[in-house]
Structures are given as structure tokens and as C-alpha cells.
């Protein structure tokens, strides 16, 4: 009974999460999707490194860092763009997006230099 209730509770939890998530605006969903894409790319790189060894370690680091960095920047963008966030009420989302683009470009310059 506990198992089934736990399972039912888990299912109910997931359902409520899904329905709540469906209410988020589309642009936030895009940003979430972008974050998932970046993190999964990082994970695949880590798995590859685990398999073949860390020989060009700098390349591994730059690859992982690029994914993680861009994910972090996307998170920042999401925070700033989210209308429910009272802290950034006065910040126009275009400005946040401009910051996001700029920071990404700088990040990728560093990454490309470190890639070797």
C-alpha cells in the first residue's frame, strides 16, 4: 500500500509539475530547452572523457566550460526575463537578452582560445 501510494503520489507530483510548467510563457520554455541542451552536451563530453582519458585536458575543460557557462548565462537570462520576478521588474528583457548575447560572445572567445 505504501508503495502504491508513493507511486501514486509521485505520479500526482509529476502531473502537477507538468501542468504548472505548461503555464510558463513560451520564451521561458525556450530558455529551459536551451539549458537542457547545453547541460546534456556537457554530460556527453564528460562521458567521452571518462572513456578515452583526459589527454588534451585543455580541450575537455574548454568544451565543458563552454556548455556550463552558456547554461549559467541562460539561467541568468531566465531570471531577468521572468515577469514574475519582482527584482528585475524595471529591466527590459531586451536589455537582458543583449547582456546574454554579449557575455556569450566573450565566453566563447575565451573558450576558443583555450580550445587549442
Amino acid at each position: 500500500m505504501a508503495r502504491s501510494s508513493t507511486a501514486k503520489d509521485a505520479q500526482a507530483l509529476i502531473q502537477s509539475l507538468r501542468s504548472a510548467y505548461a503555464a510558463t510563457p513560451t520564451n521561458l520554455k525556450i530558455i529551459d530547452l536551451y539549458i537542457i541542451f547545453a547541460v546534456s552536451t556537457a554530460l556527453i563530453q564528460v562521458v567521452y572523457m571518462a572513456l578515452v582519458g583526459s589527454f588534451p585536458f585543455n580541450s575537455f575543460l574548454s568544451g565543458v566550460l563552454s556548455c556550463v557557462g552558456t547554461a549559467v548565462l541562460a539561467v541568468c537570462l531566465r531570471i531577468q526575463v521572468n515577469k514574475e520576478n519582482k527584482e528585475f521588474k524595471d529591466l527590459p528583457p531586451e536589455r537582458a537578452f543583449a547582456d546574454f548575447v554579449l557575455c556569450n560572445l566573450v565566453l566563447h572567445l575565451v573558450i576558443m582560445n583555450f580550445l587549442g
Binding site: 513560451t26 525556450i30 547545453a38 552536451t41 556527453i44 582519458g53 536589455r95 548575447v101 560572445l105 580550445l115
Partner: protein
């Protein structure tokens, strides 16, 4: 070598102290040297004096180059002789050259010059001026019979020249110059000879007598060498290059012989003076410069036919006689220039062994071979074995009248080497016990052939080598070199002298005493025997074999053997090839795996795009009106450009060019981005407010 030889010993008078030397008459080497030293470049560049010297040298040596030289010299000669303002020296040289070349000149020229010269004779006061004047007049006399060149005041001129003489027989060049010179003495004698020849009346006898005394005084100052030659040395160095014994002696010889020719009186000079001067000129060999060669040849030519006494030179075509080849002793007698001599015979008087005063009297006459013109001794006396000897010869003229004309020089000494094959036999090498001298191993050696002896010894034993050396005549022989050499395999070598007593040669190496000398090095030693001498035709340096020597170990303080010279090719030659060991490169994964993961990494990107489609993204907010659309598009293009710049940066570029390009792109991106986003912001604000 001297011991064991049995000579008839007679201690002779010590009159012949001088060493033996061979003087050879003029030969083809002088001719080739003359041709080499005088190479006319343009011909006209050489002065008349040098041209004359060359012509005289070629004339004496029998080289015919007159037609060649005549072509470019005669014009200069003719010009000089015709010109009324030529200097005395130039006239003299031109007349000298003309005397040899006989250029086209008529008597008018000679007459003009002769009268000019005779006028200048009274005014001349320096020796050289008088020399040129008198010499020119004499040359004119020789070249044409028409012109009168006789001197009126011959006595006066004689006195003027005589006034410049010094008490030691030398002359000064002029009354202003206090220094006296031997070369000047020769010139003075030559000039005086010319005066005597050109005088219209006989010269005062007292003047001639004083001159003869001066000549004898001059000869008192002659310098001698040990080998029987003598010369006049020059103390004064003058700028004309006439210094040194060759030119001084040559000048004296010239003056003396011309003086002797010009006067019928005898000079009372002993004949050996002339002979020793001749030997000096022959003894200098072939001079290296032209002036000396000229002086030598000219002096010898003057001596060849002089009126005092003609020197006869005894020489040997070969001074090395081989007993094996049964060489005969051959002797040649010539004049200094190599011409024929009157009938004479040569006697071998004595033979000295080199390094000893004892001699054997031979007194044997050599047979004359008229075809080869050599005097030959049929067989050497029996007691002449191999070695170095000094033979004494004497020349005997057949006609007693010739004794006044020719100078034979008494006894002539010549060094002769007699070589032969030295017999080596009874050669043995043995290893002996140190204490009792018992023979352990004994091997015979054949030193005429090859030997490879293998011996072994330890430090308690001795090595003994014995052999006998005998000359072809059976007498004992002591060579210059008799060495035994032991060479260790590491290169350290030791040389020992082999001592002799009579015919027997023996060396004993006691290893007990030599252990330290050998640096305690045990091992194989190569044995080598060297026996050599200059008169030994079969000197040898032979490896005999090897010796395995067992020495005790070296104590702590023993001397180390000297370092052997490193073979230079091993030290400075190419070294061994170095193979570098590189760090092995890290293992790379197989390419298939890498490509698989490449595809795998691109999957999330695909997933992202698919997700975007599922979310039904649209571009509704994209500005539609032209200007904002333009900026929006440029913004996107700008971003794409920056990203592609990064790709190019990764592939090719360096950071600095990238940063420069990025700066440019960034500025444009900023601008377009700002425009686009501000437009979007304004539209969304409008929507909100609306």
C-alpha cells in the same frame, strides 16, 4: 767501425787541417737558374746595367738569347750613345751592352763620345766617374779601330786613382767619403788596368810597384773558410746593392785579372789564392738572385782564362760507392766553367777514416779514360770496408811549363761514402731464468725474412736477444742505430739500445728491474728490432713477434702509464649517431569512437531544434518594416560573423588578429543590436500601453 780495421798507420803532417768538401764546376743547374732569374718582361723596363749583366751571364753559360734581347735593347742603346747629354754611367752601360749585342752604330758616334770623355777626364775626381770614363774609352777601343782613345796624362790619372787607396789595400769611392770599400778596390784595379792599357807611354815603374804592394796588402785581409775557400768581405753597405762577399770578391777578381792582362809583369800572387777564390765562387752553389748569379759567373769567367794562374777543380760525379754494385771511384778534373784541361794525372794519396786522424798511404795513380774524360780507380784498396772516408787526391800536370799557368792546389780532400750490405746472422731470442740463467725458451730468428715469435715470460725472467753484424769483408760493424722496442697493446712503448762488443750484439732485459718502468702493465708486448746506418744498404725495422708478459699488480702509489695520444680521427672525427628518445605520445582513441561521439554531441542540438518546433516558436515579433528589419538582419548576421570568426580563430588565426577583427565586428554588432533591441523594446512598450 774503426776498431778491427787494419790500416797501415802513419801519422801525417797536419798541413791538411781543412775539412773535405766537393766543389763542382758550373753545370746545367746554373743555366736553368739564369734563364729563370732573367725573364724579360717588356724588355725596355730593365736598365742597361741589368741587361748587360744578363747578356754577360748568358754569354758565359753558352745560352743564346742575343737576337731576342737585341730587338728591344738596341734602340735604347743607340739613343743613349747619340744623345749629347747622357750621363757617364749611362754611356758606360750602353757601350758595354753594345759590345755584346753589336747594334748598328757608326764610328762618328764613337769619335764624338771619345773626345767628350777625354775632355772630362781631367775634371773627374770620384772613383766611379773615372771608372766609367776609362771603361768607356776601353770599350770604344774594343769596338772600333778608327777612334783614337789614347790617354796623354796616364800617369796623372794613375796617381789620382791611387790617391784614393787606403793602407789596408782597400779604396775609397771619393776623397769626400772617408769609408773604404773592398768593392771599390776591385773597381780601382779595373780602372787602373784600363789606364795602363790606354796609356800612350809606359806608366812609371814606381807607381806599378806600389800598386803591386797594395794588391798584396789587400790579399792579407782575405777571409778563409775551413773547406779551403776564401773570400773578401765587404764592410761598407752602399745603396747600389753592391754589398756582401760575392760582389766584393767578384769585383776584386775582375780587377785583378784585368790588371794582370794589361801588364806583362807578374804579380807574385801565390796560385793557391786564386784557387781558393775559385772554390768560394763554386762553393756558393746556384745563387737565388740575379745579381749574385751574375757576380759569380762573371768572376768565374774571369778566372777561367786569367794570366795569374788558372784554377783546376777536382770533383767526383758520385761520392757514394756501393760495394754491392762494385762501383769504381771516378774523378773528374775541369776548369771552373767545366772546360777541358791540359794533360794531367790524378793520384789517390791517402784514405782517412772519418773521425780519425789515422790514414793509410795509398799513392796510387788513377787511370784516365779519354772517352768519358774521367780518371778511374780500378779497385778500391782491400782495407776499404763500408763506412765514411776522406780521400786525398793530388793532381800532377804532365808538362812542367803548365805549373806556372795552372793552379792545382796541392792535395784535395773529398768525402766518400762506401756502402754495402751488412750481414746479420746468428740471431737468437731467448727467455732466461733470472737466478741461474737457465734457458727456458730459445728461438732462432731470421732477420732477413719475416718472423713471428710468440714468447711468454713473467717478471722473474729475462729476455735476451743476440745477433752478429759483419761487413761484406767480414769485419765487425757498428751501426748508428740498434734499438729493441717493446710496445704494449695499450700503446705504451719502451725502447732499449742494443750494445755490441766486436761483431756480437746482445741485449738482456731483466724484467725484475723493469717492472716499474713498464708501469706494471701485463699483457702482450710487440717486439720490434731496428738496425740502421747511413752506409748500410739493408737497414731494417722489423717486427719480430710478441711477448706475453706477466707482471705483478701495480701497488697504490705506482706511476700511471703516460696517456697515449688519442687518435685524432676518433677525437675530431664524426661521433656516433645519437638516437633521441622521445616521450611516447599519449594514446589517442580510435577515430571511429571519436566520430561516434561527435555525432552523439550533435544530438542535443538536434533535440533542441526539435523541441523548438514542438513549442511552436515563431518569428512574429520580427520587425517587418524595412529599416528595423535591416538592422535586425544585420544583427543576426553580425552574431553569425562573430561566431564564424571564432571558428577561423580556432583553425588558423592568432589572438591578436582575432581581437582586432572582433573589435571591428563588435562595434557594428553593438550598433545594430542596440537599434534592433531598442526598436523591439519600443514596440512591446507600445503594445503594453495600448
Amino acid at each position: 767501425m774503426a776498431r778491427g780495421l787494419r790500416f797501415l798507420v802513419l801519422i801525417l803532417s797536419v798541413a791538411s787541417i781543412c775539412d773535405a768538401a766537393t766543389f763542382n764546376p758550373i753545370s746545367d743547374s746554373h743555366r736553368s737558374a739564369a734563364l729563370e732569374l732573367f725573364t724579360p718582361t717588356d724588355g725596355s723596363l730593365k736598365s742597361l746595367e741589368e741587361t748587360f749583366e744578363a747578356l754577360r751571364t748568358f754569354e758565359v753559360l753558352g745560352i743564346d738569347k742575343k737576337s731576342e734581347i737585341k730587338g728591344y735593347t738596341c734602340p735604347t742603346v743607340v739613343d743613349t750613345l747619340w744623345s749629347p747629354s747622357s750621363a757617364l754611367k749611362d754611356l758606360f752601360q750602353a757601350l758595354r751592352v753594345n759590345g755584346v749585342l753589336k747594334c748598328e752604330l757608326n764610328d762618328e758616334v764613337f769619335a764624338g763620345i771619345a773626345s767628350r770623355l777625354k775632355d772630362n777626364v781631367k775634371d773627374a775626381n770620384s772613383l766611379l766617374d773615372l771608372h766609367y770614363l776609362i771603361g768607356s774609352l776601353k770599350l770604344i777601343k774594343g769596338q772600333t779601330a778608327e777612334v783614337d782613345v789614347h790617354l796623354e796624362d796616364a800617369d796623372g790619372i794613375f796617381r789620382a786613382i791611387k790617391a784614393l787607396s787606403q793602407s789596408d789595400g782597400r779604396w775609397r769611392f771619393s776623397s769626400n767619403n772617408p769609408e773604404s770599400s773592398t768593392y771599390a778596390a776591385g773597381i780601382a784595379l779595373e780602372t787602373l788596368a784600363g789606364v795602363v792599357a790606354l796609356a800612350s807611354h809606359d806608366i812609371d815603374q814606381s807607381l806599378m810597384d806600389t800598386l803591386k804592394q797594395d794588391i798584396l796588402k789587400l790579399f792579407d785581409g782575405i777571409e778563409r773558410y775551413d773547406d779551403g775557400s776564401c773570400y773578401f768581405d765587404e764592410k761598407l753597405v752602399d745603396a747600389q746593392g753592391n754589398w756582401g762577399p760575392v760582389s766584393a770578391s767578384s769585383s776584386i777578381v775582375r780587377g785583378l785579372t784585368s790588371f794582370a792582362t794589361s801588364t806583362p809583369e807578374s804579380l807574385n800572387l801565390p796560385g793557391d789564392r786564386i784557387l781558393c777564390l775559385a772554390k768560394f765562387f763554386l762553393g756558393i752553389g746556384v745563387p737565388g738572385n740575379f745579381k749574385d748569379l751574375y757576380h759569380q759567373i762573371d768572376a768565374l769567367a774571369s778566372l777561367e782564362n786569367n794570366r795569374i794562374s788558372i784554377p783546376l777543380i777536382l770533383s767526383l760525379p758520385s761520392s757514394v760507392l756501393s760495394v754491392t754494385r762494385k762501383d769504381q771511384l771516378k774523378v773528374r778534373v775541369n776548369t771552373v766553367l767545366g772546360s777541358a784541361v791540359p794533360p794531367l794525372s790524378v793520384k789517390l794519396m791517402q784514405i782517412f777514416t772519418s773521425g780519425s786522424k789515422d790514414a793509410s798511404i795509398i799513392d796510387q795513380e788513377l787511370k784516365f779514360d779519354p772517352e768519358t774524360k774521367l780518371h778511374v780507380l780500378d779497385a778500391l784498396p782491400e782495407n776499404v770496408d763500408v763506412g765514411k772516408y776522406t780521400f786525398t787526391f793530388e793532381i800532377l800536370l804532365h808538362d812542367p811549363e803548365h805549373k806556372k799557368i795552372y793552379a792545382t792546389g796541392g792535395r784535395t780532400k773529398v768525402s766518400v761514402y762506401v756502402t754495402g750490405v751488412v750481414n746479420i746472422d746468428q740471431a737468437e731470442i731467448a727467455i732466461l731464468d733470472s737466478d741461474l740463467g737457465n734457458v727456458e725458451t730459445k728461438k732462432r730468428l731470421d732477420l732477413t725474412g719475416e718472423n713471428t715469435i710468440a714468447l711468454s715470460a713473467n717478471h722473474l725472467q729475462k729476455l735476451r736477444l743476440t745477433f752478429q753484424l759483419t761487413t761484406p769483408f767480414g769485419r765487425a760493424f757498428k751501426p748508428h742505430q740498434a734499438f729493441l722496442r717493446l710496445r704494449h697493446e695499450s700503446g705504451v712503448e719502451h725502447i732499449f739500445l742494443v750494445r755490441s762488443s766486436g761483431k756480437n750484439f746482445e741485449i738482456t732485459l731483466d724484467f725484475l728491474g723493469l717492472v716499474e718502468k713498464f708501469f706494471y702493465l701485463s699483457g702482450r708486448y710487440d717486439i720490434q728490432l731496428t738496425v740502421g746506418d747511413s752506409v748500410m744498404e739493408n737497414s731494417f725495422l722489423q717486427p719480430l713477434g710478441y711477448l706475453d708478459l706477466d707482471l705483478p699488480d701495480a701497488p697504490e702509489k705506482a706511476a700511471r702509464p703516460p696517456p697515449q695520444p688519442v687518435d685524432s680521427s676518433s677525437k675530431y672525427g664524426p661521433r656516433a649517431e645519437i638516437t633521441h628518445i622521445f616521450r611516447s605520445p599519449d594514446k589517442r582513441p580510435p577515430t571511429e569512437l571519436s566520430f561516434a561521439f561527435l555525432g552523439l554531441v550533435l544530438l542535443p542540438l538536434g533535440g533542441f531544434l526539435i523541441g523548438l518546433l514542438l513549442l511552436r516558436v515563431n518569428l512574429r515579433n520580427f520587425p517587418s518594416s524595412t529599416l528595423p528589419a535591416f538592422f535586425a538582419i544585420s544583427f543576426h548576421i553580425g552574431i553569425a560573423a562573430v561566431l564564424s570568426l571564432y571558428v577561423v580563430f580556432w583553425l588558423k588565426l592568432d589572438l591578436f588578429t582575432t581581437l582586432k577583427a572582433l573589435g571591428i565586428l563588435g562595434i557594428s554588432l553593438m550598433f545594430t543590436g542596440h537599434r534592433t533591441l531598442s526598436y523591439l523594446a519600443s514596440t512591446s512598450a507600445k503594445l503594453k500601453s495600448a
